[in-house]
Symmetry: none
Subunit: 182 residues, 2 copies
DNA sequence: ATGAGGCGTTTAATATATTAGACAATGGGA
DNA sequence: TCCCATTGTCTAATATATTAAACGCCTCAT
């Protein structure tokens, strides 16, 4: 469940070919601590871990970013896009059934007055789009703006956001999000 | 000297519009701890910090990668899209300057007769789009199809592909690709 | 006014991370 | 072989993170 800080640190240290004591000396901590961390017997404080990584040197960001580990359909008619929305908010997905898709591209249509809930989803990721017709009122992290044709947005999906068509005509948007939510 | 975990966490929490108690509840820690962390009165253990971020949710990697400098721009006027193409093929990129962008969303416009070269890029990745005006003749891996408004495409970037506007009116497309080529 | 419930902060008690120092095992060099 | 240095591990003492519960400050409905 927890991040395996221990083996991560150990593999880094050994990759650099230095001993626990040497790393401890450079980092200004004790060798025992390094040992305990590498065995996952303790969960180091951020400040300790930073001191240790400074001895390598390596940033916390780098440390946690480290990773240890038939021709699909290309063309889609308008009617082949899969409808995921409802009467008010139509969401038509491109390449819905494509396995291992890396993003979701949608043709969205908001009826006048339609709105999405104040979503704050569990997903990481980003979403972006361009308005092609009508106007949409978009709220992201508390700030709101109305966007018209040719205008666009781009934000991190986990920020609270809401789309609302405050106008009288339908609003259409082409949007993309990655990794695919739909 | 130390990473400012506190203000980082606070800015994230407030950006998500939730209280210390709410975050604590989701994370399974106490609100007091969140308070102390945000004031930098303690340096949380990695396991605690992970629990807290799970409540957002956000990974440790994302947390430490986060650029605290400024909330990235979420809204873009039509003229704020950055032009990457030429007279014949206009490619206007959303959120061009956004650091660490995970995709490229483009508003493309092909003049009558305009075409892209037969591209076959080194990148892995995928691209997709929806035609919003005019017609485009798209060739992917040897097969060709003309797409009109509301029609769409989705293919792996490394496949040889070519866009050509064989019609008399300009053609507009909203497209997305990941990882970002532009 | 007033009480209820939200907020962030603080404090004493407790759990845990960290240190200092000792331990056994390994591998040269005299 | 013996010694000495170096390795990673372990344990008791200590420093620090974390909890539980209270505080004071707000706002809002009664």
């Amino acid at each position: 469940m927890n991040i395996d800080v221990g083996t991560r640190l150990r593999s880094i240290r050994t990759a650099f070919g230095i001993s626990q004591r040497e790393l401890a000396r450079r980092a200004g901590v004790t060798n025992g601590l390094i040992s305990l961390i590498e065995q996952n017997r303790v969960s180091p404080s951020v400040s300790s871990l930073k001191k240790v990584l400074d001895g390598v040197p390596m940033s916390l960001a780098e440390f946690f970013t480290l990773d240890l580990a038939a021709a699909p359909q290309a063309f889609f008619g308008a009617e082949e896009l899969v409808e995921l929305g409802n009467e008010e908010v139509s969401l038509r997905l491109v390449a819905a059934q494509r396995p291992g898709r890396q993003m979701s591209v949608l043709h969205e249509r908001y009826a006048p007055g339609a709105a999405t809930g104040e979503e704050m989803l569990a997903h990481r990721g980003e979403e972006a789009g361009v308005v092609i017709r009508g106007r949409i009122e978009l709220t992201v992290s508390g700030s709101t703006r109305a966007l018209g044709p040719g205008e666009a947005y781009y934000f991190a999906s986990q920020l609270p956001h809401r789309f609302r068509n405050a106008g009288r005509e339908p609003c259409e948007i082409i949007s993309a999000c990655t990794p695919p939510t739909f």
